[in-house]
Every structure is written in structure tokens, then in C-alpha cells.
């Protein structure tokens, strides 16, 4: 087909037919919509299938698990959940994990807020280098810090406490918090600060009364990320604790009994570690997209 416009009636007709055929070949919007939904559903099935299998296992008795492969629990039982909620060894794992995660979130956000403000509003000697140094801590493999942490916290007498894990997780959580908060703070116009100072606000009062409410969603998203990275990390948490503050993750690795691995209890414990995440993500669902771009879109 030539690009020049057709001149004879016959050519016009041919051109029109060609265009109509092209239209027919292209999927209509409804079909395209269905295709999109289909592809997305396939991906979500891929995401959910392993989780479903875990859920399925957690409701089966151990004999059913090892006996035959069943797609849904035919012998529905809550014994594994009952075991976790009645055995102090198990449920203290959750208490410990939640304790150090909350502590870490509190410490990180408190020190990160002023630091992020400084990075977003001021230039000062060494600011760029300091920021890069912070980011390098985000990149530090926990395995590198394993041994020194163990010795450091042992020496200062913090070994096997919640504080030790909370402080250790500050290594990557504080830089992350500073990074995300800096993005959110930079999107608040500086005129707001100036107006507040002209109105006679002192810095601390301005920060608490005006600035923090303005970046509420940013703080919510930051807390979500702090929760996420502290909750999922296990290597440091299990190395720095033995029995007093053991996280659920390392309790789970010790389910190997005399009769092999207790698959049912392991699955039930796994399911219970997913629940806090779902609760937390529900609260920030409207801001999370912006948060993932670290406030920089």
C-alpha cells in the first residue's frame, strides 16, 4: 500500500477495505480487556498457588500429609494451630519477633525524621558523602556483619535481648527510612517552612505540629517498609539470640523431631507469619505505590 492518498474511486475503495481488514485483525477493546484480565489472573494464581499449598498443609493432619497428595484437606484439623498457640516455645517466637520489630520501627523513625529533614532542606559539609555512606549500609550483606555483631553485642551484654536485634536491624532500616522520608519531604514546598517561621513557630513546634502531619502518608509508608524489612530478616536475628528472644523464623527451623520434620506445624507457623504482613499492607494500600518509588515519582 502506498503512502500517497488514493485518487481514483477504485483505489479509494481498496484502501477502505484494507483499513477495515486491519481493524478486524486488531483485537476489539472488550477482547483486549479479557486478555489483560486473563494474564493478570494467571500471574496472581502463580503467586497464590504456593501460599495455598502452605494453607492446605496447615489444615491437614500429619498422617494425611505424608499419606497421599490431596488438593484440599479432607480431614480438616486445627491441631497444628492449637499446638502453636498453646506451646510457649512456639508462640513466644511470635511475641519476640513482634517485640524487636516494633522497637526497631520506633528507634528508626525517631532518628530518621530529623536526619531526613536535614538532607532535604540543607546543604552542609559532607552531605553528599554522608548520604552515600548511608546507602552503602543498605548494601552491606548481613553475613558480613554476623561475626562482629555477635562479639559486639556479647561484649556489651546485649546478647539474646530484643534490643540487640532491634539495634542490629537499624543497620539497614535507618538508611532506608532516611532515603524514603527524604523523598517525601522534598515534595513539600519550602515556602511552608518559611511561612511557619515567620508566623513565629519555633523549629521543634513547627516540626511536630505542621511538618509531620503534612508527610503523614510518607511516614505511614516508611513504617510499612521498616516493618517489612525487619520482619523478613532472619540471619542477624537468629544469630544474636539463643533462647530468650528467639524469633519465630529460627523456632521454625528447629521443628525437626525424632520422626522427621513436623510438616503440619511448620506450615501452620508459616501461615501465621504471613498474617501480620497482610494486616499492615491493608492500612497503607492507598499510599504503597508511591512509597515503593521512595516518594520520588
Amino acid at each position: 500500500m502506498s503512502d500517497s492518498l488514493p485518487t481514483t474511486p477504485e483505489a479509494v475503495r481498496r484502501r477502505a477495505e484494507a483499513v477495515a481488514a486491519k481493524r478486524r485483525r486488531q483485537a476489539r477493546p472488550v477482547v483486549r480487556q479479557w486478555r489483560r484480565t486473563g494474564l493478570l489472573t494467571t500471574y496472581i494464581l502463580f503467586v497464590l498457588l504456593p501460599i495455598y499449598w502452605l494453607l492446605n498443609m496447615s489444615f491437614q493432619s500429619n498422617s494425611e500429609i505424608l499419606g497421599a497428595l490431596t488438593l484440599w484437606p479432607s480431614d480438616f484439623t486445627l491441631e497444628h494451630y492449637a499446638k502453636i498457640f498453646t506451646d510457649a516455645n512456639w508462640y513466644m517466637g511470635y511475641v519476640n519477633s513482634i517485640a524487636y520489630v516494633l522497637m526497631n520501627m520506633l528507634i528508626s523513625i525517631l532518628v530518621a525524621l530529623p536526619a531526613a529533614y536535614a538532607f532535604s532542606r540543607f546543604r552542609f559539609i559532607g552531605d553528599k558523602h554522608l548520604f552515600f555512606w548511608l546507602l552503602t549500609n543498605l548494601m552491606a550483606p548481613p553475613a558480613v556483619f554476623l561475626l562482629p555483631y555477635f562479639q559486639l553485642y556479647y561484649t556489651v551484654g546485649l546478647f539474646d535481648t530484643h534490643v540487640a536485634v532491634a539495634l542490629a536491624h537499624c543497620l539497614f532500616n535507618i538508611p532506608l527510612a532516611v532515603w524514603i522520608l527524604e523523598g517525601f519531604m522534598s515534595s513539600v514546598p519550602k515556602e511552608i517552612d518559611e511561612t511557619a517561621f515567620i508566623d513565629g513557630y519555633s523549629f521543634p513546634r513547627f516540626f511536630v505540629k505542621i511538618f509531620i502531619p503534612m508527610i503523614r502518608s510518607g511516614i505511614g509508608v516508611t513504617l510499612f517498609f521498616l516493618f517489612m524489612f525487619s520482619w523478613v530478616e532472619l540471619l542477624l536475628a537468629s544469630t544474636l539470640t539463643s533462647t530468650g528472644a528467639q524469633p519465630i523464623g529460627s523456632v521454625m527451623t528447629q521443628t525437626k523431631g525424632a520422626s522427621g520434620i513436623d510438616w503440619g506445624a511448620l506450615s501452620a507457623a508459616g501461615v501465621l507469619t504471613i498474617l501480620p504482613g497482610i494486616v499492615v499492607v491493608y492500612f497503607v494500600r492507598n499510599h504503597i505505590a508511591k512509597g515503593f518509588a521512595l516518594g520520588r515519582t
Binding site: W53, F124, A143, P148, M252, F292
Partner: protein
Amino acid sequence: MNKVYNNRAWLLILPMLLLVAFSAVIPLMTVVNYSVQDVFDAHTRFFTGTEWFEATLNDPALQAALLRQFAFSFTILAIEVPLGIGIALLMPKRGWRASVVMILVTLPLLIPWNVVGSIWQIFTRGDIGLMGWSLRELGYGYNITRSAVDAWATIVLMDVWHWTPLIALLCYSGLRSIPDAYYQAARIDRASRWAVFRYIQLPKLTNVLVIGVLLRFMHSFMIYAEPFVLTGGGPGSSTTFLSQSLTTMAIGQQDLGPSAAFSLIYFLIILLVCWVFYTAIMNLQKDKQEKGA
């Protein structure tokens, strides 16, 4: 934004600096200290200079682990980045469906890493796992404890399952920040689907993609819990990545000197790659500002 030059900003940074220094600088100095000494016990130690570094760099097992690590990181990046962009394009933009899809897609990111390993261990076992069992029923002798290929493929699949959501959510947030007017203009111009993606969506995604690739590279380079739980590094050492070699060396064998030297080299490699990325981001932003001005 025009920033004011003011050195009192250091006061705002100080508390953070002290805390991070306590959890980063002191331990790192310990590592540096160990890396140049041969420690027998608390009182006997010898200065060894660069001996441990040379030994580590020449260790074939560690070289193999490093190569494996690079192969792994690039494989998962090559799969996760295009897949993540695709998912982000498919995700609904508003309404209750957007929330539901968002929560479902985020789900794998919120599962503790060793539980991810457990989930896939259960899922892929030949006797009790859906995937392992199905593959065997289909006539493929799937076994991650015997076959290195199976183990490798399963770990890649697990990582794709676990981390594609991160790229997808990053891209999704990038896409949402494109004003509707751009799409309207494209419709008026009768731009094709591909042209819209290439000239409107992709340029908007570059920024978030750089963050995504950076985060993914970092995390894949530190991967520990998932393969440890799933395969334990085997069969043989076919899925032993750097983190695991290091942990075995430092905690298992208590080889302070070599493992400290190894730690430093490991850290430096990550730093080097990330520095390249960081410089790239900064230059991108500078270009943008110059264009905007």
C-alpha cells in the same frame, strides 16, 4: 529545590549518625582488624598483612561461588524486570480491584525469607508438594536434591515469585504518575500501543527502574535464607552463593582471618556495582534538570 547552606543541620543528623556508626562502623572496623591478623586466641595473634586477601582471591571454591552469584543475579534481573513491567501494565488503575490486586501482588514481599524457603520446599517436594508431584506425574524426574539443573531452576523460580512484585509495584507507581493528558494526546495522534509504551510509559519508568534494579541487585547478591532452607546449597555446591560460603566459613569453621578478608572483598564488590548505579542515577537527574531548565 534550593537548599540553604547551614552546618547546624549536622545537629539534626547526629542521633542517626551515632546509631548507625554503632551498628556499622564498629563492626566493620572489627572485620578490618581480623582481616590482617591471624588470631589463635584472645592473647595470641600475628600480623599477616594481605595474606588472607590473596588466599581468598585465589580460592577456587570462592571464585566459583562468585561466578555463580553473578550468573544468578543477572538471570533473575533478566526475568524479573520485563515481567515486572508487564504486570505493572496489566494492574488495574482504580477501584476496589486495584486495592485487591495490589495486596495480592505485595503478598510475597511480606513473608519472612526463611518461610519463603519453607513454602517452596513444601511446594516442590516430590512426595507432598503440588509442583514436585505434578512434574513427576507428567513424567519428568524432578528432584532438587539430586539434579543441579532442577535445584537451580527452582531457586530462580522462587526468586521470581518472591521479588517480581517489587519491580511491578515500583513500575506501577511510576505509571500512575503519568498525567492522563499524555494518553489523550497519544490517542489523538493515533499512536499504537507500542508507541505509547516506548515514548510515554518507558521514559517515565527509567527512574523507578534504576531504583528497582539497584535494590534487586543488592538483595540478590546477599541472598541467604531462601536457598539455605530450600536446597542447603546443594546438590554438591551448585547453589551455594556468596552469603552462604561466608556464613559457613565464619560461623561454621570459625576461620576469623580468611572470612574477614572475604567479607571485605564481598562488600567491596557490592559497593563498586552500586556506586556505578548511584552515579548513573545522579547523572540521569542532572540531565533531566538541564533539559528542564
